[in-house]
Symmetry: C2
Subunit: 671 residues, 2 copies
């Protein structure tokens, strides 16, 4: 064991912002190998890849598949053989105890060598590869199980939070710590690592997008760097995997919190940065085997990795890619999610039922931007209550986007089924809920697009938005039919501003933004003006408008954010509406109806297509609720604006906020 | 602090096998109060209730709702006030640090008082209530995140695995430990508790059913009792909550492993048992506050709870309810799951599309047994390829079950849509996959039953089995439409015997068993003989049989168990088929097709109704897979029956097993 106190210097860090399809071991290994070659060519001391690079993330229960786990191990072995003078940190799921003795040859331990208390055989690790060998590993210590995450389902936690590594660089020895994703969100881990001797911290991530997340992430990591007093390099994965999108935006911050470099969002890319480090305290170098123990504990002391490259010239100062404004950030996330899903499953033709309401119009533009106009097929399916302008608008949209458009009316099968079933129900003396006839129209449209899609090998894209999904304002097996991700499923109808000032663009905001982009580029605005301005309607009954059954969307969406994301009680929501100028009775009626609809619609949300997560709390695996629960959200008998109620107004604008109001009619419901 | 070494004696344990609807705080509090009254009336020393009794389990993300958490705390407070001389152990989700000092008044700590590393504010605890006070608590230490479990999503782990409590009984002091569910599946926790001084162990559970689970559970607990050398009392919840069914079957085993008592399966019930305990070692009694610390650590020493009842007469020897044979066990689980779902959501009318294949026939009998014949409505929907006998059989089934039966043909809308869409596709020059016309029939049936259900407020029960679900042999938005749980969704078509000898009844086995039960009771067998004997067919094309596209079900199901539950590789499956007498090429073709279908059908399984879990590994939250993955299961080029391959035959019967064989035709696929 030697003791050395590194002076100040530079660590040249290469960040590979890779796009990884879960389970694409061959493709990913090749991409990492290319990144290693590049990192060597720029004489980087360390190459940083995203969390779980070799397998993709989240691999979910594929991690329980012995063949999948074996393939991950083989990828690491193969990449170790390709490692040169640059130390490569490669994210991988590996069995505990998978490391060779220092100086030995690379070897993955057999399954079951070491298990944690709950019998989980894997760790989420950064494999340290250097000069042809798999020399060490560091395991993620904090395993998130909130939001979309299920890390504890598969991994046992690593126990040594402050595991350190040292390389001999051109500027002398540099000691660094490795953290993995969740670990950096708890700043004391960075502080501990710096206190133990780390001169900088390298972080592997697969950090999914939600609105404002890029800025939040940089803020959290910058605070950690300042508190720990060391620079932090943060590499993120990029691309859409099912319902989540990794937004890239890898970056490096200095010990003073200054942003030194940032890669582009939503695109694969790479950065190489000469990161200046201050001198570090003396550390004890380990001479024993670099083995992760049975409890996920790494070796005592600092793992000495040896020399990297000898270089003289600094790399050019890296760029700082611009942060995206909210509409572009969200829109790009949606396009990325749709495009990567289609690419990854190998089908790229998308069929959309275009009504031409605002939702289907926006979905069509997203589809075109994701897979190209020649791969998008719009179908208009007028029914007995469709408005006269709908087909005209739909044709205008299709022409502006350059997509194919067909018309298949549903009037005949609707008349036939409605007649047969109404007679049967009448013969049987059944009281009939009229909503059944509304749903019937939506379902015949679903049957029609699914048949066209099955006949031609196309995907169907559903276009229901998050507001409708929340209150169940859609027809199960009707407009919710879809085998592509629904790009609007996590997008409120209206634009909202959150309490922290975050702008949350909705369907309208993105539609307007997309039109503006087209105009700015000298092209016609794709979404017709009438679509943007007409009152929202499902057009399933004579003169129907969404506000017959729902509050105006700005009001509904404000309630939904408070209810779903801020977990406000029904009484708190009533007080907010009263603060906005609603009469107490009316406020209680609206809140009771909205909360009741959200609670009761859970069974419908279980059977809808993937949504692309862009909100802080999306429906789906981000929000897991039982169906047959007795717990509902209802206002108390008559909540008043009691001055001592902590929920009263909640620090928000009081009366006269100018929000539109409605008297809610308790119409029958669609399911 | 006093030190006392209890002699041998008796602890009178009352076990309340309760049925708990998630979030039914009022109803559940009342039921626990009644159980406390009963336990007091039989002079029990301790009353044992299931895990998470006050809230129900699994409450999932309702646990993130402040109102839900507050209600759980209020329930515990209310029940504490009702506690008498019997110590009540009540399962509850509570914030850490929620306990009063010993001797103080009951109080739930405010939110956020103490958090674990990942910021989870709750523990899964047994609240200890005695003589009007909430005096102590013990937190679950092992939090399962496999199978259907997500405990780590909401709870931080308790850290004091061997927390002990002591009561003064009529026979002197008795020291006991409390474990919660997962804790008892790791026998060293029981051994540790006994070593620390526990004379017996009390276990609170919400342990979901799968086939063979009751016997497995008793085996594991009996082994723990014998290893620890102390008796164990195990109380389980009962009833269906969404996709899982708690099967009750609470029991007590002695220190020698003898079964002392067992409650009935699948029914609420109670047991009171005088459990003999051997003398224990001296233990230190705690005098400090009985507070769960920030890391979930309880107090040092044994919590002295004081005197319970003074009684002289032993309770009568409790009964040992008989274990159920496999078909009855599985059938009862399915009936319980359907019945409780309907009861808990408050809708009890069930509409079933009856083809009269074996699946819809069995589903109809389950529906009748769950909600009663007067609440079940069967609809036959003959199409162009329906067999002549189908309506006759369906009428016979309905008559035998005493349920309403209506006929609504789909021929007209099928002809109309097929014509319109075929012309459009032809006009557009599209090549058409014929499977679209098969799916169209199934979807028009889906539209029809959903319209009838929406009109009348009925639930639709889908009837696809697990074999079909596995290979995607169903039509999304067609036969998979359903708003009730699908009772067949976790049931293979054929009966199978697992490697450990467990009998896994399939659709056929349960259908025959149900017929036999009827005949034994002097009633007509409900399921027609023709339904039991005719070759399975979707009847969506001329002369179609399931074996046109799939191996015979006994072969398919054997492969599915090996693939899904035993996680065998494709090559191992090929070797099994070769062992069964298949030619190598044929075996590779069959396995390649089956595995490929299972892999590709994941997107369809995401959008189907709840299934009642009865298998060891059900589709749904028990098996969470990404959709856009590149990882597929395919046989290698040409696996041979190499003698040294560990997968070869796998200890099973070799060639000539008599299983039916098929040549798989690669027909187009339904989706």
């Amino acid at each position: 064991m030697t003791v050395t106190g590194p002076g100040g210097g530079v660590l040249r860090v290469a960040l590979a912002q890779l796009t990884v399809r879960v389970g694409d071991f061959d493709g990913t290994t090749e991409a990492v190998r290319a990144a290693m070659t590049w990192a060597g060519s720029v004489q980087a001391d360390v190459l940083l890849t995203p969390e779980m690079t070799v397998s993709g993330y989240p691999a979910e229960d594929l991690l329980a598949d012995p063949g999948f786990r074996a393939a991950a191990g083989q990828s690491v072995q193969s990449l170790a053989g390709a490692a040169g003078a640059t130390v490569a940190l490669v994210g991988a799921p590996l069995p505990t105890g998978s490391l060779p003795a220092a100086g030995g040859t690379a070897a993955i331990a057999p399954e079951g060598t070491a298990l944690d208390t709950l019998g989980r055989p894997l760790r989420n690790v950064a494999a340290v590869l250097h000069r042809g060998r798999f020399v060490a590993a560091h395991a993620k210590t904090l395993l998130p199980t909130y939001s979309v995450f299920d890390d504890s389902r598969h991994f046992g936690p690593g126990s040594r939070r402050q595991q350190l590594f040292q390389v001999e660089t051109s500027t002398g020895p540099v000691t660094f710590a490795v953290l993995i994703c969740e670990d950096i969100w708890h700043p004391r881990l960075a502080v501990e690592a710096a206190a133990a001797g780390a001169q900088l911290i390298l972080v592997l991530n697969a950090s999914p997008y939600h609105v404002g997340k890029p800025a939040l992430r940089e803020q959290v990591v910058t605070e950690a760097a300042v508190r720990a007093g060391v620079p932090i390099a943060f590499v993120n994965s990029v691309g859409g995997q099912d319902d989540v999108v990794f937004d890239g935006g890898s970056f490096v911050v200095g010990a003073d919190g200054a942003l030194l470099a940032r890669a582009a969002a939503f695109r694969a890319g790479q950065l190489v940065v000469d990161v200046p480090v201050a001198s570090g305290p003396p550390v004890a170098l380990t001479t024993g085997p670099n083995q992760l123990g049975p409890d996920g504990v790494g070796p005592d002391g600092v793992v000495a990795l040896g020399a990297t490259h000898r270089y003289r010239d600094p790399v050019p100062a890296p760029g700082i890619a611009a942060a995206l404004p909210p509409p572009e950030e969200v829109y790009t996330a949606l396009v990325t999610g749709v495009r990567d899903y289609c690419t990854r499953i190998g089908l790229s033709r998308i069929l959309i039922a275009v009504s031409c309401g605002i939702d289907s119009a926006l979905a069509a533009t997203i589809a075109v931007d994701a897979v190209g106009a020649d791969q998008v097929w719009a179908v208009g399916m007028p029914g007995p209550y469709s408005s006269a302008g709908a087909l005209t608008d739909a044709r205008a949209l299709a022409a502006a986007l350059g997509i194919r458009f067909d018309v298949v009316p549903i009037a005949d099968p609707y008349a036939e089924r409605a007649d047969v079933l109404a007679r049967l129900l009448a013969d049987r003396g059944e009281a009939v809920a009229d909503v059944a006839w509304e749903n019937l129209q939506a379902r015949l449209r679903g049957v029609t697009v699914m048949t066209l899609a099955n006949a031609t090998g196309a995907l169907v894209m559903s276009t229901g938005n998050r507001s409708e999904s929340a209150v169940g304002y859609f027809t199960l097996y009707g407009d919710s039919c879809g085998t592509a991700p629904n790009p609007l499923g996590d997008l409120l109808k209206s634009d909202q501003v959150l309490g922290d000032g975050t702008v949350l663009p909705g369907v309208y905001g993105l539609a307007r933004w997309r039109n503006e982009q087209a105009v700015a580029a000298g092209r016609p605005a794709p979404i017709p003006e009438a679509t943007l301005t007409k009152p929202p309607s499902a057009e399933l009954a004579e003169g129907q408008e969404d506000t017959d059954a729902l509050p105006p969307y700005p009001v509904l969406d404000r309630l939904l954010i408070a209810f779903l994301e801020e977990r406000r009680s029904a009484d708190e929501l009533v007080l907010r509406l009263i603060g906005d100028g609603y009469a107490p009775d009316e406020a209680a009626t609206v809140v009771g109806r909205v909360c009741g609809l959200v609670d009761r619609a859970e069974f419908k949300r279980r059977q809808v297509p993937l949504r692309i997560k862009v909100s802080r709390l999306a429906f789906g695996r981000d929000r897991r609720l039982p169906l047959a629960t007795a717990f509902g959200h209802r206002p108390s008998a008559r909540p008043g604006p009691a001055a001592d109620d902590p929920g009263a107004s909640g620090g928000e604008a009081g009366s006269g906020s100018g929000l539109p109001r409605t008297i809610v009619r308790l119409t029958p419901w669609r399911d």
